[in-house]
Amino acid sequence: MSYMDIIGVRPSGIELTSLRWETIEQTNLGFDMTLYNGRINLIFDYYVKTTHDLYLKDTKIPTTSGFSTLNINDGEMQNRGAELYLDYTIVKTGNFQFDINVNAATNENVVLRLPENYSIETGNVLNNGEYLMKVQPGDPLGGFYGYQYLGVYSRTSDAVATDAVGDPILGLDGLPLTMQMGNVGAEKYTFVGGDARYMDVNHDGKIDRLDVVYLGDLNPRYTGGGGARISYRNLTLNSFFTFKYGSKIINQTRMYAENMSGFDNQTRAVNSRWRKEGDVTDVPRALWSGPGTTNYGYNWLGSDRFVEDGSFIRFKTLSLTYNFGEKFCDKIRVNDLKIYVTGYNLYTWTRYSGQDPDVAPPSKPNILPVDNNLTPPSKRILLGINITF
């Protein structure tokens, strides 16, 4: 920003004078219940948590201000949900005990109000690999939008615009209109055989912003866990499971491993790609264009093709403990002696195809919740002795 021999200095942002803490207003309604001499313990909690003065980092502001983002406090968000905890001792005799415990929670997140001129919108759905993210009152944070993937055009003659009942739309010359990409550019892209087929929601023969639908969000509808504990004499067997239900994950790793548009390694799924007119498959053709051209097609637009159900149940721990009892301990002059074996992350039941369906939510609401297949939780077996002197 210098000019001639003068070093330029300019402000890097707008001075923030009205930042403050978020205010959280929380109402809880719940009960603790103990029945049958403490054999059943039930805890239930319903909450409504409203966040006022929502901190909105990097809020987009009109560039007429000379800047493009600002951190502000404005808006309201609500989390409503319920938590349940149950502890049940099913059998309790002299040297045998069988307990189960279950916890479950549900949470609904909704943005109640945003500043009038506020809009979070990221992602250009006209580009491959990008999803639209927007936050608007009435929606949860973290929702994403994209196209509906309908497979692959088997033949070029299939790539025609259709009306609401599925009949081809005819042009002025009496021939069916070809499907086009509604992108901004010198040449309109026309879909051909082997290209990914997307739902033309408004039947205008163009795939564009208007064909984008809500695909889901990362927030699970239910989360929780539970396990059983069996003890017989000195032996205790303890298990614990966790689950999440109803989260939607964008499997970005799969996207990159199936897009066939670069030099990245690809998965075996690409073996079934479309290769010639008439092939019926759900993996589009490989489209790598030579040097000098920039046409990579639109085979991996942000669509539900890469969105997967992230529900899972994970067998988190199983542990077997043997406690050597007081008599033995006194004999060898220790306070307490235990040996145990514990297994962690033993198994995960899920339909999710990536490494780990337990994807951490992004740090900011305007970041797309994608799974980059980081190292999954390791399966571990721990063998231990616990001695207390």
Partner: protein, 488 residues
């Protein structure tokens, strides 16, 4: 028991530590080390100068846009780069990323900020004189006016913002102002700036004299604004002011190419100075922004010769044709007649020439002609024509004919200098768009063959000569209303 003693020691150490560190009670107020904070700025003359340099730096950043928009939809150049391609064929989508005014407004905000705080520097630093403050204020007003002049010619109606965005309590959500209001503001700002500005103080330092706005560059911009606003008498006054200063003249015929290489010729009135020193990032954005510009040999280069360019130069007689070399020769040639390129460094440090004396002569010619003083106009057009080795313009009595001659002369003189579209639009919009038909026909001819039929029905809407409000800005600011032509 021993264990307990250790614990006590630790507690004692912690208490001691808390005693030492308690002096940091204001840790929330610690200023970031590397960044300047506002409270420490605006204290010294250097601060004002640094802020001014940033305003010029920001103008340099937007110079590429200024250059492209001046040619994009016009007929002198074809093969617009990237996202400008569809726009050059009147296929204009508000979502096109090329349509973006943020750099203009960044410049404007930096100018507004400087204007707001220059008084504070005056109070804080005795060495910062009133004259220095006035000079800097005038430069900021000039750049702000120039930015708004571009905005108003490109978008017609834009937010008019005269206050800096200095805190999050500033108004950020401005609605559009009309063209008339903006033009009025530009004129009154420039009249104020003119009285405050430096005149010949930097005459001995050519870079400062040509590169920083002074009274003459301000009057030249004002002439351009008056011409746009059809205030021809006023335009002539401004031109005469610059002419009578005696500080400028046309670069002689034999050395005319020195206007572009090495720049800062006797003709230059406002040349944004560029440098290629490898450290301060002051290269000419026209080179860094359009890589294909340099690679002129591959046949795909941006800014090929447009239909008008070909028609204007039927043969080599006009020096400005540079013997048929590329239309961009003035940006890359060592001189006009030899087939030698400049070194890469001296390409990148070529100035962005906003105004030069030829502009004054031709603006005056245009203003005279519009006032019916056709014969007088002739002598001014003749000056630039003769300098290019052409015959004098004589025997013209018809105003319309003369208008076209002046327009063509401007096209030849300023080919690929980012002025053509504004010249065409200025002519079209005269007296309530009396000449819109010609511009409409031109836009249809420049469009893609397939879309010409559809375009024909649209070019009567004069709002299509202006750009849509960028899609993203409409999202960010609900007080903005789209240009009605682009509303779907």
């Amino acid at each position: 028991m021993k264990k307990l003693l250790v614990d006590r020691k630790i507690i004692a150490i912690l208490m001691l530590a808390s005693f030492f560190f308690s002096s940091c009670e204001n840790w929330l107020d610690i200023a970031p080390e590397k960044d300047l904070i506002k409270d420490n700025f605006w204290k010294k003359a250097d601060d004002a100068n640094s802020a001014l340099a940033a305003v010029y730096g920001s103008l340099r950043d937007v110079s590429l846009e200024n250059f492209i928009w001046g040619e994009c939809r016009a007929d002198i150049a074809v093969n617009m780069p990237g996202n400008y391609t569809p726009i050059s064929g009147s296929d204009i989508d508000p979502e096109n990323d090329a349509i973006n005014w943020s750099k203009y407004y960044r410049t404007i905000n930096l100018a507004n900020t400087l204007l707001y705080y220059s008084g504070e520097v005056l109070e804080n630093d005795m060495s910062f004189t009133q004259k220095m403050k006035d000079g800097i204020d005038a430069e900021a007003l000039f750049i702000r006016s120039l930015s708004y002049f571009y905005l108003v010619r490109l978008w017609k109606e834009v937010p008019l913002i005269l206050n800096p965005s200095i805190s999050d309590t500033s108004n950020l959500y401005y609605a559009k102002s009309t063209e008339a209001v903006i033009i009025k503001q530009i004129i009154s700002d420039l009249l104020i700036a003119k009285d405050k500005a430096y005149t010949t103080e930097f005459l001995n330092d050519l870079e400062y004299f040509k590169g920083r706005a002074n009274q003459y560059s301000i009057m030249t911009l004002l002439a351009d604004v008056y011409l746009w606003n059809q205030q021809y008498e006023k335009c002539i006054e401004c031109c005469d002011y610059v002419i009578s200063s005696g500080l400028y003249s046309l670069q002689p015929k034999d050395t005319w190419f020195e206007i572009y290489n090495p720049c800062n010729s006797v003709e230059g009135i406002f040349e944004l100075q560029c440098r290629d020193d490898g450290t301060t990032n002051q290269t000419n954005p026209i080179y860094t922004g359009i890589p294909t510009l340099i690679n002129l040999t591959n046949g795909q280069a941006a800014f090929g010769k447009g239909p008008k360019y070909v028609a204007l130069f039927p043969d080599n007689s006009d020096k400005r044709y540079c013997n048929g070399k590329t239309s961009l020769w003035k940006y890359v040639g060592l001189n006009y007649d030899e087939n030698l390129r400049r070194s890469v460094v001296s390409e990148r440090d070529a100035n962005v020439i906003y105004y030069r004396y030829a502009d004054i002569l031709l603006m005056k010619a245009e203003a005279l002609n519009e006032l019916g003083r056709v014969a007088e106009a002739q002598s001014f057009v003749t000056q630039t024509a003769e300098r290019a080795g052409m015959l004098p313009v004589t025997g013209i009595t018809d105003q319309t004919e003369m208008r076209n001659i002046i327009l063509d002369e401007r096209a030849k003189e300023f080919a690929l200098e980012g002025k053509r579209w504004f010249d065409l639009l200025r002519k079209a919009k005269m007296n309530g768009f009396q000449n819109k038909r010609e511009l409409g026909d031109l836009l249809v001819n420049l469009a893609d063959a397939k879309s010409q039929a559809l375009l024909k029905s649209k070019v009567n809407d004069t709002m299509m000569y202006y750009l849509p409000i960028p899609y993203d800005e409409l999202k960010r600011n609900k007080n903005l209303k789209q240009n009605p032509f682009y509303e779907r």
